[in-house]
Amino acid sequence: MSTAVEVQRPDRWDHPLTDDMSDETIAWLLQSFPFSDMNRERFSKSASLEDILRNDTRLLELSEGDLVFREGQYGGSAYLVLDGGIRIVLSQLQLDQDRTRKRNDWLQQWTKLGRGLLSGKSWRDKQGKRKKSRTQSKVTRTTKAAKSGTRGDGENTRIFLQDIPGVVDEHATSEVGVGELFGEMAAVTRSPREYSAFAERKSYVLEIRWQGLKLLKQDPEFRKLLDDRYCDRILKTHLRETRLFRFLPDESIDHIVASAKLESFGNLEWYADYRKSVGKDARARIEGEPLIAEEGSYATGLWIIRGGFARLSRRQGVGHRTMAYLGKGQIFGLSEIVHNCWFAGDSPPLPFQESLRAIGYVDALCVPKQVVKDHVLPFVRRTELPPPIVDPRYQFGQPVVDASLDAATQQVETGLLEFLVERRLMNGHKSMVIDTERCTRCDDCVTACATTHQGTPVFVREGPQYGSWMFPHACMHCEDPVCMIGCPTGAIHRDRESGLVDINGQTCIGCKTCAESCPYDNIRMVNAEDCKGRAKVDTNTGLPILQASKCDFCASARGRPACQTACPHDALFRVDLSDLQQVSTVLGKEKNA
C-alpha cells in the first residue's frame, strides 16, 4: 500500500484571491487610476502588474449601506474606490445586532455558571481578563446603535446599515472618494482596523490583499499615494483614539496634525537583526537599540507609540535597567512636560528622566512640547495628569542620582522584564506559560494537542525559562506577527474577528518564509498530508511537500485550547505578555495562592 501521494508542488498564485478577474476587468483596471499612472516596467516579469491584479485583487460590488469592515476587525487587505463613495466612521460604530448578540450571550453565561464551579478555571484567567478590560478601555462615546440588516448568503453575506443619514449625523465620519485607498494601515502594520467603513451609495471597490499591496509599493507614485493618505486622514483618526486627546476640539487636533512628526525607528523586518543579536552581551544589545529619546536630554516633545514596542530604561551603573515596555498607544515624556509647564515655576525645566529605545521596530509620533502645552494640556482632566516629579534623577547642572535597585516601585521585577524584552516575548498576545513548580511533566498537554491535530502536536514543551516560568515553543499569536511579513500567498493570516494568527493549509506553499521569520522558532515545517493522512510528495522531484505548522489556539473548537484544558495541575495557561498589567498580575511577585 502506498504511504505517499504524488502532487504538483504548490505555487504562489495557485489560489488567487478570486477566480472572477477576467481579462476585460484587468484591462479596465489598467486604464483606471492609479494603475494607469504606474510604470509597468518597474514590475518583474514573474509578478507583472497584470498578474498582481489578476491574483491579488478582487472587485467588490457594494450596495448602499454595505459594511466593508468594522473597527477592531483584523484584515490583510486594503481597498481602492473605483466608483461610488465610501464613508469611514471615525467614532465607534455600534450595531443593533451586537446588542442582540449580547443578550444571547447572557443565556450562555448562565449555563457557564454551573460549569464554573467544576471547571477549576483558575483565578489567573479571570484576573488577567479583568485587568485587561480595565487597561484596554478605549475612547468611546455613547451613541445610538445603528440599525442594520444582512443580505446575501454564505461567503457573500454582508451586513448593511439601514439608516445612513442617521449614522452620518451621529458619528464623526469622513468620505473616501474615487481613486482613494483605505484600510491599508491595518493591512501593512498587521493591526486591527481603526475605523469602520461602509458604502454610501452603490460602489465598486477593489480589494487588494497585503501581498499584492507590497508588490504595488514598488511603484513610487503608488507609495506616495499611501503616504499622503496617511498624513491626510489616518493620523487624525489615530489622535482621536488616543485617550489623552479625547476631549480635544477639532482645531487643536488640526494643530497637532500640522506639527506632529511621525518617525520610524529600527527595521520593520526586525527578526533578522534580532537573530544576529542573540547571545550578545545585554549592555551591547541595549546600546544597539535605536534611541528614541535619551534620559538627561531636553524634554522637547511628547512621544506616542503608534506601533511596535519600546523599552523604557534608566542608566544604572554602567548599564541600563529596563523599567517597562511601551506598546501601541502608550505615551512617553508626559510627566516631564507636565512638570515643566505647570509645576516647575522659576526653576529650570527637567530633562527626560528615562530613555526610550525601539525594540525591533517602532512607529512613533512626536508632538512638540509647545503644542502639548497650548493644545493638549488645557483639555485634559487634572486627575489624569501625572504628579510633579518630586525627586528627579536628572536636573540640568546637577549630578545624576543613581536610583535604588529596590524594585518595589516597579510593576514587574526587573529580571522578568529584561528576560521578556531580551527575548522579545512581550510581543506575545496569547503566550503559553508553564509553571514548572506545578507541572509534573506528564505530557498530557502534548497528548491533547496531538489528539486535536491529527496526531502531530503543534507545540514543543520546551523553551526559554525564567525562574519557574517556562515559555514553551508555541505560537504566541503576536501583537506584531512578523511571520506574516514575507508570506507570498497570504496563507498565514490573522483571523478577522479574533486576531488569532492562523495558517491556511490550502494556500500554504511550504516556502518556509514564516518559519524562518518567526523569532521564537514557534513555526515548524511538517510533511503535508492529504485527507487520508498520506504524505504528499512532489511529482517532479519526489521530495516531500512541506507545510507550515503551528499552534492554532484550537480555534475550531470553542473554549480554551486543548493543552490548557488537559493540564491536570493548572500549570499551563496563556498570558498576554504585551500587557504589562497582566504580566504583573499573573507572573508578578505574588504567585498563585
Binding site: G120, S122, E437, R441, D444, S468, T565, D570
Partner: protein
C-alpha cells in the same frame, strides 16, 4: 473561584456528604436496615465516580471542563470513598478474598495520597534545577555528558602532568558516568554521591598542574551536570512509576469489587 475558595468549598462539600452518609447510616441502623448494602452501594457509587477522571482524560475533544477540575473532584471523592470504606468494612476482616479486596482498596487509597503529595512536591524539586530536561531526551544528554567527560579525561594525559586525573577518572568517575542509578536512588534521589565525588576531585588539586586543574574543574562541571540529569530522571521516573502503580491497582480493585458484588448477591440468594 480562587484556589483557596475552591479548596474550602470542596472540603465543606465533602464533609457535608460524609455527614449526610453517616446520618443516613444511623437512620438505617435505627430501623434495623441492611447497613452493609447501604454503605456498599454508596462506596460502589463513589468508587465508580473515581473512574470518571480516567474517562475525562480520554475524552479530549469533548468540552467537559478542564481536567484540573476533574482531578480535584477525584481527590475529594477519594477521601469520601475512603471514609465510607471504613464505615463499610466489618472488623476484623475475615477470609482471604475480603482481605485481598480491603488491601487493594487501602493500597489504591495510599498510592493515591502519595501520588497527590509527590505530584505537588516533585515539580518544585524539579524546578529547583536551573534547566528543564524532557524525560525522553535525558539518556541522550547523559551520553553526551559521559562522552565529554571521557574526552576531558583522555586529553588530560596529553600534558606532562602525571596520570592522577585519568587514573581517578577510570576508578571513580567512569562507573558514575556510564552506569545508571539504582532503584533506591530513583525512589529517594539525593546528592550524596555528587558531593562525595566533587570533594574527592577538589582534593586532587594538590597533585595537578595548571592544565590539570582546568581539566579537573571541567570534570567537576560534568559531575554536576550528570547529577542534575540523574536527579531529573529519577524524580520524573518515580512519578511515572507511582502513577502506573496507582492505575494498575485501580483496575485490579475494579475486578475485585465486581467479584465481591457478585458474591454478596449470590450469598443473599439474589443470583
Amino acid at each position: 473561584m480562587r484556589g483557596t475558595q475552591r479548596r474550602w468549598f470542596s472540603i465543606s462539600f465533602t464533609l457535608l456528604c460524609l455527614a449526610l452518609t453517616a446520618g443516613l447510616l444511623q437512620f438505617v441502623r435505627d430501623r434495623l436496615g441492611d447497613e452493609s448494602t447501604f454503605t456498599g452501594w454508596t462506596l460502589l457509587s463513589a468508587t465508580a465516580g473515581l473512574y470518571l477522571l480516567t474517562a475525562r482524560k480520554k475524552m479530549i475533544r469533548q468540552r467537559l471542563g478542564p481536567v484540573a477540575g476533574w482531578l480535584q473532584m477525584h481527590m475529594y471523592m477519594g477521601v469520601f470513598a475512603s471514609c465510607v470504606f471504613l464505615m463499610h468494612i466489618g472488623w476484623p476482616i475475615r477470609g482471604i478474598f475480603e482481605t485481598a479486596l480491603a488491601s487493594a482498596f487501602v493500597f489504591v487509597a495510599v498510592s493515591g495520597i502519595l501520588l497527590g503529595v509527590i505530584s505537588r512536591t516533585t515539580p518544585m524539586r524539579l524546578a529547583a534545577i536551573k534547566q528543564d530536561f524532557p524525560y525522553e531526551r535525558i539518556p541522550q544528554m547523559q551520553l553526551a555528558v559521559a562522552t565529554d567527560a571521557h574526552e576531558v579525561a583522555l586529553d588530560s594525559t596529553a600534558f606532562d602532568e602525571g596520570a592522577t586525573l585519568s587514573e581517578y577518572y577510570q576508578r571513580r568517575l567512569l562507573p558514575y558516568f556510564q552506569t545508571r542509578r539504582g532503584f533506591f536512588y530513583v525512589m529517594f534521589p539525593t546528592g550524596g554521591k555528587r558531593r562525595a565525588l566533587l570533594r574527592e576531585l577538589a582534593d586532587l588539586d594538590r597533585y595537578l598542574g595548571e592544565y590539570g586543574v582546568g581539566s579537573r574543574k571541567h570534570l567537576a562541571k560534568m559531575v554536576q551536570a550528570k547529577d542534575d540529569l540523574d536527579y531529573h530522571q529519577a524524580l520524573q521516573k518515580r512519578l511515572q512509576l507511582m502513577f502506573m502503580a496507582h492505575v494498575a491497582l485501580t483496575w485490579a480493585l475494579a475486578i475485585l469489587i465486581g467479584v465481591h458484588v457478585v458474591m454478596v448477591y449470590r450469598f443473599q440468594g439474589f443470583m
